[in-house]
């Protein structure tokens, strides 16, 4: 076997009482994309941080290019040829594309001044190799996420990286951009670069990678060639459950269809129109019904959810709650009339990371818990205790800061915040995005349970979840409803037919943000 580019041998890392990494060994070979999967908290991030010198391992050794190394930080690791592409592209959005590419090793003239023309020329050349043709003088932040990521990769590789670590690189990319990334990884492999590909998405493991390692609770539980690994085996390894059990329960944890019956809709949105986004979408939600919104990125799923909640102004259309038409409609009124939403972007629009779990959960319900201007501590604690128990939120105490929780638990806190308002309709925009499989399953089961108790749910999620979880599916295409499927009609095939029905010229497929 060849000398690996980078090798971790029996690496351990302890944080306080918990062992985040327990004798983990990993070989990263030249020209190989190595997938690293595992639930949140399995130790993936810690392993990356140990490899790039952010953390010092408590035990074990790291060898890079044949020599034992001990990096003092990301800069040190980068000098040695290990570059990291982070989940949220960590570059300078206000600086130009060219500056971003060359910051840290800017070309200078003999006088010691920046050589701007060379900077531009070389930046253009480098990006052309990745099929990116942009004006490199434009600020990076004006460009789409896909392009930003290409810039990050180009930056890593042109810094003579031998190992490129990609931390959930596709979490905010459109499908076509994911294709591009796969192509680029192919190019990197041809150059003999090793890639450590951290992901939640099993599809990408099988599509992009040659070898896969699974971490669970800080231990390496599986490593081997991708073609000798089955999908179900991988899921079982991640969850630590027998294969048969995973097979029996299906991929998601949604149960059977709910008793919706003929009840009158609790929420009815009619012909919603918003320039460039929605073109006459209608949605009805009955008590106990899970209504799924399906469609490609940019088809108007999130936009519909936000419009129904009153978060974005409408150009036309009407919203009716419990049979009453509402003339004024905004999030405050929506919440008062029992329509609540958990937004897509947890970080930006959801949790307040610096506040405690208690404060986060009761934030929206505070007006109801207040008597004479004072907040009843006892009522608060009762509600918080109930939801922590019922939703299975893993916290050391209600005083723990939400920022310290895993993604899945943060999402549960958000759900609790909305649920303690006792909503009649809950709008969920990608509730399981970016959280691990275990937490995903719990949230899916929770949605199911809530619907059974009579809550109406409007759900934006991945196709798989919509198919298994929704009682009614509204298929969106270019801001209009392409069709509505109910009960037995719901199936991936049928939804994809509706989505694809009109996409003959190719331009209507996923939106390409600029």
């Amino acid at each position: 076997m060849n000398e690996p580019v980078c090798e971790a041998h029996a690496v351990s890392k302890r944080f306080g009482g918990t062992l985040a990494l327990d004798h983990v060994s990993l070989r990263l070979e030249a020209g190989e994309a190595h997938a690293l999967v595992g639930e949140n908290g399995a130790g993936k991030s810690t392993l990356i941080k140990v490899l790039t010198g952010v953390h010092r391992p408590d035990g074990g050794t790291i060898r890079h290019l044949g020599r034992p190394v001990s990096f003092s930080g990301p800069a040190d690791a980068q000098d040695a040829g290990i570059s990291t592409i982070y989940q949220e592209v960590e570059l300078a959005p206000l600086l130009s594309v060219a500056d971003n590419l060359f910051l840290g090793r800017e070309p200078i003239t003999r006088l010691g001044l920046l050589d701007r023309s060379r900077l531009r020329r070389e930046a253009t050349e480098v990006l052309a190799r990745y099929g990116v043709a942009v004006d490199v003088r434009r600020p990076l932040g004006e460009l789409g996420l896909g392009i930003r990521q290409m810039v990050a990769i180009a930056r890593a590789v042109s810094a003579r990286a031998r190992l490129v670590i990609m931390d959930e690189p596709t979490s905010s990319l459109a499908p076509r951009e994911v294709d591009r990334l796969a192509d680029v990884i192919e190019v990197l492999r041809e150059q003999g670069i090793a890639i450590l590909y951290v992901t939640h998405k099993l599809d990408e493991v099988f599509r992009v990678c040659q070898r896969v390692s699974v971490l669970r609770d800080g231990r390496l539980v599986h490593t081997g060639p991708v073609r000798e690994t089955s999908r179900i085996g991988l899921v079982a390894a991640m969850l630590g459950r027998p294969v048969a059990e995973v097979r029996r329960h299906g991929v998601t944890s949604f149960g059977e269809a709910h008793e919706v019956g003929r009840a009158a809709p609790v929420l009815r949105a009619d012909s919603l129109v918003r320039a460039h986004a929605l073109n006459g979408v209608s949605v009805e939600v009955r008590p106990g019904e899970v209504v799924g919104l399906a469609g490609l990125l940019g088809s108007g799923r999130s936009e519909t959810a936000r419009a129904v909640f009153g978060a974005d102004p409408l150009d036309a259309g009407s919203v009716e709650v419990a049979g009453r038409a509402r003339r004024r409609w905004n999030p405050a009124i929506a919440i008062r009339s029992g329509v609540c939403m958990v937004p897509e972007d947890r970080k930006a629009e959801g949790v307040v990371p610096g506040l405690s779990v208690r404060d986060n959960i009761t934030l929206a319900a505070l007006p109801r818990l207040t008597r004479g201007g004072l907040v009843s501590r006892r009522a608060r604690d009762r509600i918080v205790g109930t939801f922590i128990r019922r939703l299975g939120i893993k916290v050391s105490s209600p005083d723990q800061k939400v920022g310290e929780l895993s993604g899945g638990n943060q999402q549960k806190v958000l759900l609790a915040r909305m649920l303690c308002l006792r909503p009649a309709v809950l709008i969920l925009d990608e509730p399981t995005r970016g959280i691990d499989i275990g937490a995903k399953a719990e949230i899916q089961a929770l949605i199911d349970e809530l619907a059974r108790e009579g809550l109406g749910v409007l759900l934006v999620a991945e196709l798989e979840e919509i198919v298994e979880g929704a009682d009614t599916v509204v298929v969106l295409r270019d801001g209009t409803a392409a069709g509505v499927l109910r009960g037995a009609e719901i199936g991936e095939q049928r939804i994809m037919e509706l989505i694809a029905a009109d996409v003959s010229d190719g331009s209507a497929g996923g939106r390409f943000d600029d």
Binding site: T84, E90, P93, L95, G104, L113, R180
Partner: protein, 336 residues
């Protein structure tokens, strides 16, 4: 180029900036200069030679040159994502020390204040860059410290040190070349040098990088962010110190009460010049326009005999709000 490459290129080449976004960028970059031209035109039409006369223009230029020095340093600080509230006090301390040090000749009158100011900047930079304390708090502390020291050196203001009139410093400080005061020339020279440093050196580019997203991105890119911050605060203090020395030379004395509120005026000039208060984007050219605009407006209000000079700040404040409003509107447009 093969067909495959052509397709890739097409996939990843967004349309060039539309006319409207380009106009918005232009407004942000050159808005202050444009308004400055309008205000100057308006002023010269309204007040004629009492505004455009050489005497008045010289006064504006002299007044603006001290602010320009401070604002130039402030531009670096703000671009790097920080703020320096200490510059007004540092300027006063520098003036007092220049007067105090003049007993050892011009060298003492220049080196003593600059050494002390550089040290204050170093403390600012180390606390902000390495100890990662909040710039607002650190420089608020040095603001108090420097002001206190200025009063202490001058026995609580009772002792006003006079710079001898025959000292080279006073003669240079009060001289003019071709009708332009030496402080103005010095300020312009420093400004030009700062322009080269900011726009044409690695350090300059990295100042911008440090101001993008709390410097986190710059750190992950392997840039020496802490060192960049230290240099920026040292530069800011040194330039404030230089302004203090020049004012002392001009007035032949050092007053501990000098420069109160100068830090806010400098920040206002930088922001009016289109630099984002959050850092990462902006220009020195804008700062120059911002400085001149503030000073011209002050001068024009003085020309209106019926208005008290207190209205200077009313107008400056109103103008600042307008600029920030426009900036916010532009930022919103860009996000959409």
């Amino acid at each position: 180029m093969t067909t495959g490459q052509a397709e890739r290129a097409a996939l990843f080449s967004p349309a060039a900036g539309t006319g409207r976004t380009r106009l918005a960028a232009l407004a942000r970059r050159h808005g202050a200069a444009l308004v400055l031209v309008l205000v100057v035109l308006l002023g010269s039409l309204t007040f004629g030679s009492s505004f455009t006369g050489p005497g008045n223009l010289r006064a504006i230029a002299l007044d603006a040159s001290y602010l320009l020095l401070v604002a130039t340093g402030m531009t670096f600080v703000i671009l790097s994502g920080g703020i320096d509230l200490s510059v007004g006090s540092v300027l006063a301390l520098s003036g007092v020390l220049a007067a105090y040090g003049s007993r050892w000749g011009t060298a003492g009158a220049v080196l003593l204040p600059l050494a002390v100011c550089g040290l204050i900047g170093l403390v600012n930079g180390l606390l902000i860059g390495w100890a990662r304390l909040a710039p607002f708090v650190v420089t608020l502390a040095t603001l108090l410290f420097a002001r206190g020291l200025a009063f202490a050196v001058s026995q609580e203001g009772n002792q006003v040190y006079i710079i001898p009139a025959d000292l080279a410093l006073t003669r240079i400080g009060q001289a003019s070349v071709l009708g332009v005061g030496v402080p103005v020339l010095i300020a312009l020279a420093v400004f030009a040098a700062a322009g080269v440093v900011l726009n044409r050196t690695r350090f300059g580019l990295r100042v911008f990088a440090a101001g993008n997203g709390d410097g986190h991105a710059a750190e992950l890119m392997g840039l020496p962010v802490a060192r960049i911050r230290v240099r920026v605060y040292v530069l800011s203090s040194l330039l404030a110190g230089l302004a203090g020395v020049l004012i002392a030379a001009q007035t032949a004395s050092g007053l501990p009460t000098l420069g109160e509120g100068r830090e806010l005026e400098a920040i206002a000039a930088v922001v009016i010049g289109g630099t984002l208060l959050t850092g990462g984007a902006g220009s020195l050219g804008g700062t120059l326009a911002g400085v001149l605009l503030l000073k011209v407006i002050q001068n024009l209000i003085n020309q209106v005999g019926t208005l008290s000079s207190a209205y200077q700040q009313v107008v400056s404040g109103t103008f600042l709000v307008l600029v920030v409003l426009v900036q916010a509107a532009l930022a919103r447009r860009r996000r959409q």
